[in-house]
Amino acid sequence: MRFFLRFLLLAYGFMFYLVTTVQAAELAVVIVSSERSAAYVEAEQALLSELERGGVSRYDMLQVTAQEWAGAGALKPKLIVALGSEAATVLAKAETRAPVLCTLLPRSSFERILRTSGRKSSSQFSALYLDQPLSRQVELIRLALPAARRIGVLWGPESQAQAPALKALLQSSGLELVEASVGRDELLFPALKRVLDDSDLLLAVAEPQLFNSSSIQNILLASFRVRVPLVAFSPAYVRAGALIALHVTPTQVGLQAAAITRGVLQGKSLSATPVYSHDFSVTVNEHVARSLGLTLDAVALRDRLRSREATP
């Protein structure tokens, strides 16, 4: 039965591809996804549904993966939306007439792609970031943990570049940065210990060498032991035991990408400067919060953060 269904789907996909190839000139949007796993599909579906809701026909939108892009290179859509780093990398190297909006990727990935491809951010090649601006993260810390004065951060080879900006932001908020750098071949734990000794919370900044599924056990256990909560960048970390995370969901990314797409379809240019998501989510591990003697309301925190951003 499953085989039969797969066959039907493939057949449908093939027919759909033929139809859209024929209608290439009329295509509105091509969505190039790095892969077909859950988060990418979620973002894609949100984007498609929102555009459809805004009057764009499904037949004017084509979805392909980064690997399939080579075959779809002749298409002439009004906008190409790249979901993820791999898709963005492929499109950075491709010669497309249509502007490219790279999304579902963090700022450092986008900047790396610019560096390696020799491109510059422009209205032809721009981005909607997946990570959250440091200013928003600092604001969340001030709202959620007002007693925390010393913010611990571990820097890795790639994240280190954000140190001056975070230091300045914290200083202007009356907070202190307690930092330690971990080089490419250095052990994480001595640095973590140094930071935990002098911090009220640990702010995780994405860096696969430091924060990954192997190291998270030691990081969370060590920080919990000294009652230093972890402020993370994804809900998976909250599920693992971080106190709180500021993040954007794939659906939120899809919706904002749809809004940008609508603008382009209406004749606007892409913003030459990449943007952070307007919308975002706050996730709290209520069990960890309770154990630390804290009461945090994720929805209220998000609403307060949004209303602060709305007030200049």
């Binding site: 963090p106 001595p190 994405a206 056990q217 256990l221 994804s234 998976a236 035991g241």
Partner: protein, 651 residues
């Protein structure tokens, strides 16, 4: 009651396992070098799983005192037992006469205090050989390996079984990830104090490991036949077997060589008693999902006592109190959460205790006691401000039948930081092997000539009904924290020794359920920040017990007040100053039926931080008992003033 003749070597097991660990390697996921969306969208293993999140102090089913690593360091204590001075209601003896320094709660300090449970990383360490006393068990862990000690004051049998009759001391050792690298200490001072420790921690793809060896040595209390030397080795390895599974392996050996006995006591002559304990423990924890955990543990422990001396009145006769014991334990525990308002832990435990001692039981055969325990405890948040902890343990004991220990405790958060606690619990402590089967007969040239202990086997479990009201107040603005416990502990059928006439040997001793008594009173612990860098911890306990000391005609039940004060001050240059003062009313001696005078003790400590290369360390100077010597355990033993210097290098 099954009799066996079997011995096992924990060393065989531990060496096999250590060997295995050397070859263990766990596949570690390839970590990409550059940041990508995978870091934000990828999944993570559950780390702070449901069983790893401790209850808050204002939500525990009883009064809990926590002694953390910093407090241990600042106290200058060399033994876990000595640390219990910092806990309201605890009485401590530093004597090694009955095995090792030991503690009692609510003035229940006897020769072999056995109404407290002591756990080290979830493993019960009371001695099946020495009447269930916990002194040697507390020596199995090096004080520098301890992360924190959680002391639940009050009956805790609903969670920890029969031995937690009046309370539980839960020792949690440091995670090996915190002790990577080399650490050491050396201490030298008065009374032959000569302590040393070296520990090495390392990490590999398989996990984190620690191996430590240490020695604690001095000449013992004034008047003792010292020296007292404790030598230990401990290994711990935490191995992660994939995202959801963690295995922890522990093994250790402790040797307590104590100079005991007295020159003038022909039945307790000066000698060196050697108690050796070894253990191996394996714990596996699987995180089933974000809300469920399964934990399985097995452990094996051995204890050997060599304790003999010639009886001077009959040349050729040797008095022997030696023997050996072993324990096997298997436990399984499931913890789950239902929504945000219900957390349940339930499980079962199988335990077998084997005791072999010709000297104490007049047989070469092994006395075996099997325990089967089923337990369940629920933490139900009835309202946001009201928590109910309800549970119990059913225990099947091959020696003295079945018993059930239930508990209910309500914690009401009156306002933020203010909690009232009320609850009632019931517990039973079955008699130990010695209390049930002692048969100490002395033979000369193969002919029995005398006997001291001859149990008739009629002793039954003793019971306690414990009621308490507690208050916890946290005043962060004032830097003040208050914990008050008002208690009524009604003990029925208390087990005590009695004398009776044996037709062959004349007056001999047995254990029987001969007394009901009530312990009631109030105790509190106050922590406050006095001024910059200063913290004061004050505790007092007033116990009014109707317990009588059968052999001590002078002892009248009377209120017993014990107080403790700890002042911690951070001085310029990072220097730590600590002052500790303890005072206790006159009461009975732990080791003899006689009145002990009121005692007081003042300790001071100064610690200077060090930096050796990239390592932190400390040089500390400690004076214990600044005042005159005070008697401890028996009138002939005195804790005199002693000073020592310690050099410590941290990981």
């Amino acid at each position: 009651m099954e009799k066996q003749n079997k011995s096992k070597s924990a060393w065989f097991h531990s060496s096999c396992l250590l060997g295995l660990l050397g070859w263990t390697s766990v596949a570690v996921a390839q970590v990409p070098e550059a940041v990508s969306e995978k870091d934000f969208l990828g999944d993570m293993p559950i780390v702070l799983s449901v069983s790893r999140l401790p209850q808050r102090l204002d939500e525990t089913p009883g009064a809990v005192t926590i002694i953390d690593r910093n407090m241990i360091r600042l106290s200058g204590a060399r033994d876990v037992a000595d640390l219990m001075r910092l806990v309201p209601g605890f009485r401590v003896s530093d004597s090694f006469e009955a095995g090792a320094p030991q503690v009692g709660y609510h003035n229940n300090l006897t020769t072999f205090s056995n109404r407290i449970q002591v756990m080290v990383d979830g493993r019960s360490v009371y001695s099946p050989f020495m009447l269930g006393h916990t002194g040697t068990g507390m020596q199995t862990v090096a004080i520098d390996d301890i992360e924190r000690i959680e002391v639940l004051r009050g009956s805790n049998s609903a969670a920890y079984g029969a031995r937690a009759f009046l309370g539980t001391i839960n020792i949690v050792t440091r995670d090996p990830v915190d002790t990577l690298g080399f650490a050491a200490h050396l201490a030298s001072g008065d009374n032959g104090i000569n302590d040393a420790r070296a520990s090495m921690g390392w990490a590999s793809d398989a996990g984190n490991f620690r191996l430590g060896v240490d020695r604690r040595a001095d000449t013992g209390l004034d008047g003792s036949s010292g020296p007292d030397v404790v030598s230990r080795f401990n290994f711990r390895g935490d191995v992660r077997l994939g995202a959801a599974d963690q295995v922890e392996v522990r093994a250790g050996q402790t040797s307590v060589e104590a100079g005991v006995g007295f020159a003038q006591a022909i039945g307790n002559a000066p000698r060196q008693r050697v108690t050796e304990t070894s253990f191996i423990q394996l714990d596996w924890r699987r995180s089933l999902n974000a809300d469920q955990d399964l934990a399985v543990g097995v452990s094996h422990a051995d204890e050997t006592n060599v304790d003999q001396f010639p009886y001077v009145l009959l040349p050729g006769l040797t008095l022997d109190f030696g023997g050996r014991a072993s324990t096997e334990q298997f436990n399984i525990q499931h913890t789950f959460r239902q929504g945000s308002n219900l957390r349940v832990v339930w499980g079962a435990e199988l335990r077998q205790e084997r005791v072999t001692s010709q000297a104490l039981y007049n047989t070469d055969e092994t006395l075996v006691t099997d325990f089967t325990r089923y337990f369940g405890n629920a933490e139900w948040r009835i309202r946001s401000d009201l928590l109910l902890n309800a549970g119990g343990m059913f225990e099947k004991n091959s020696m003295s039948g079945d018993n059930f220990s239930p508990r209910v405790m309500f914690n009401w958060h009156i306002t933020e930081g203010q909690t009232l606690r009320w609850g009632v619990s019931q517990a039973q402590r079955p008699p130990t092997t010695f209390e049930k089967f002692s048969n100490v007969v002395y033979s000369y040239a193969g002919v029995p000539v005398a006997a001291t202990w001859m149990a008739r086997g009629g002793v039954r479990p003793e019971k306690v009904l414990s009621r308490e009201i507690g208050y916890l107040g946290d005043f962060p603005r004032l830097g003040l924290n208050l914990d008050v416990r008002v208690f009524n502990e009604s003990v029925q059928d208390a087990i005590k020794y009695i004398g009776y006439q044996s037709p062959i040997y004349g007056e001999v001793k047995d254990f029987a359920n001969v007394e009901d008594f009530t312990i009631q009173g109030i105790e509190y612990q106050l922590k406050c920040s006095l001024w910059r860098g200063a913290q004061l911890i004050l505790n007092q306990s007033l116990v009014d017990s109707s317990w009588t000391d059968g052999g001590n005609k002078d002892y009248k039940p009377q209120p017993y007040l014990s107080s403790g004060l700890m002042l911690l001050q951070k001085l310029p240059g990072g220097v730590d100053f600590s002052l500790m003062y303890q005072q206790a009313d006159a009461t009975n001696y732990a080791g003899i039926s006689s009145m002990a005078p009121a005692t007081s003790r003042t300790d001071v400590r100064l610690g200077w931080p060090l930096r050796v290369g990239n390592k932190r360390g400390e040089v500390s100077f400690v004076v214990q008992n600044l005042g005159p010597a005070y008697p401890d355990f028996v009138p002939a033993l005195n804790f005199r003033r002693q000073a020592f210097v310690m050099l410590k290098l941290e990981n």
